[in-house]
């Protein structure tokens, strides 16, 4: 058994803790504490003796991303959900930085945490959404969704488990391929045409958004 399954526990147990804590009461708090403790143990198993600042930051930042994503998905207030999403994006940006793709970390912050989230918040403020009725979620559909998600997760991790550590960063790979220069050269070299097409897509989306939301003025 490789260190994948403990990692799964490390990610999922805090979510269980968060969930029980939210349900309130003393039992919830207790369960949350136990979850957090077990998760910390699992983290210890995973990290083992690879104790470097970068590695530890990866696990902490990724846990932040997972937990805020959980809040986004489970929360009833869209405004809080949007704000939690900032945590998710920032956590992922941190992970990118840990992975030495600093450029992408920056792009992540500017585009997602900046532009896209602002758009979300605009809309949330604009449409004045009511709080979602708690009874309307869950039900058979929710249980089926959670079961499917957990089953898929188990299967994916099972598929990943045998890979073990084998796919560690390529031996002797220099930092060069991840630099801004490398990405830029690739974008404006071999990927020039797709890049231009992507910009065209953005233009179309821009026009589409304006046409769709601006229709009221005509009528």
């Amino acid at each position: 058994m490789t260190s994948v399954w403990p990692l799964l526990l490390y990610y999922l147990l805090p979510l269980v803790g968060l969930w029980t804590y939210r349900r309130g009461g003393r039992t919830g708090t207790l369960a949350a504490g136990i979850s957090w403790f077990l998760a910390a143990v699992a983290l210890g198993v995973v990290i083992g003796d690879a104790r470097s600042f970068a590695v530890i930051s990866f696990y902490l930042l990724s846990l932040v991303a997972v937990m805020t994503a959980f809040l986004v998905v489970t929360g009833t207030n869209p405004v809080y959900g949007a704000l939690s999403l900032i945590g998710t994006f920032t956590g992922i940006a941190g992970v990118f930085v840990v992975l030495q793709c600093e450029f992408f970390g920056i792009v992540q912050v500017i585009l997602y945490a900046g532009a896209i989230l602002v758009l979300y918040l605009f809309v949330v403020m604009m449409v004045d959404l009511p709080k979602e009725n708690a009874q309307k979620r869950g039900g058979v559909r929710g249980i089926a969704a959670i079961a499917t998600g957990l089953g898929l997760l188990a299967l994916v991790v099972k598929a990943l488990a045998p890979l073990g550590m084998r796919l560690q960063p390529a031996a002797g790979a220099s930092a060069e391929p991840y630099s801004v220069r490398a990405v830029g050269t690739a974008l404006f070299g071999p990927y020039l045409v797709p890049f231009e097409v992507a910009s065209l897509l953005l233009l179309v989306a821009l026009v589409g958004a304006i046409v769709l939301s601006g229709r009221e003025r005509e009528s």
């Binding site: 998905v73 999403l85 998710t88 992408f104 979620r137 957990l150 990405v183």
Partner: protein
């Protein structure tokens, strides 16, 4: 260094949280946010592989994913506003245009 498998497990957990959210929630805005989470999970995988294989292609594709996400959000939110204008709420059950009448 962080093993690739761990990055992939992180991506998988993120993706499936997004998926469960997409499948169980009723609010369209939350659905959009779930989709954003899923797209980000894909980006995590792409960056992880790019890092591991020493290939810039993964990052280039991540750029395209971001582009598509931006386009999707722009159009999607415009539609959401239209929905809100016509119905006063943005719940999934109101929108069943995919049904074959």
């Amino acid at each position: 260094m962080v093993p690739l498998t761990h990055v992939l497990v992180f991506g998988a957990v993120l993706f499936l949280i997004g998926l469960v959210g997409f499948l169980s929630r009723r609010n369209f805005l939350t659905l959009f946010m779930s989709v954003e989470i899923m797209l980000n999970a894909v980006n995590v995988n792409l960056i992880g592989f790019s890092r591991s294989l020493g290939d810039t292609a993964g990052q280039v594709f991540a750029v395209f994913v971001i582009t598509v996400a931006a386009a999707e959000v722009a159009v999607g939110l415009a539609i959401l506003i239209l929905m809100y204008r016509s119905r006063g709420r943005v719940l999934v059950q109101d929108w069943r245009a995919l049904r074959d009448n």
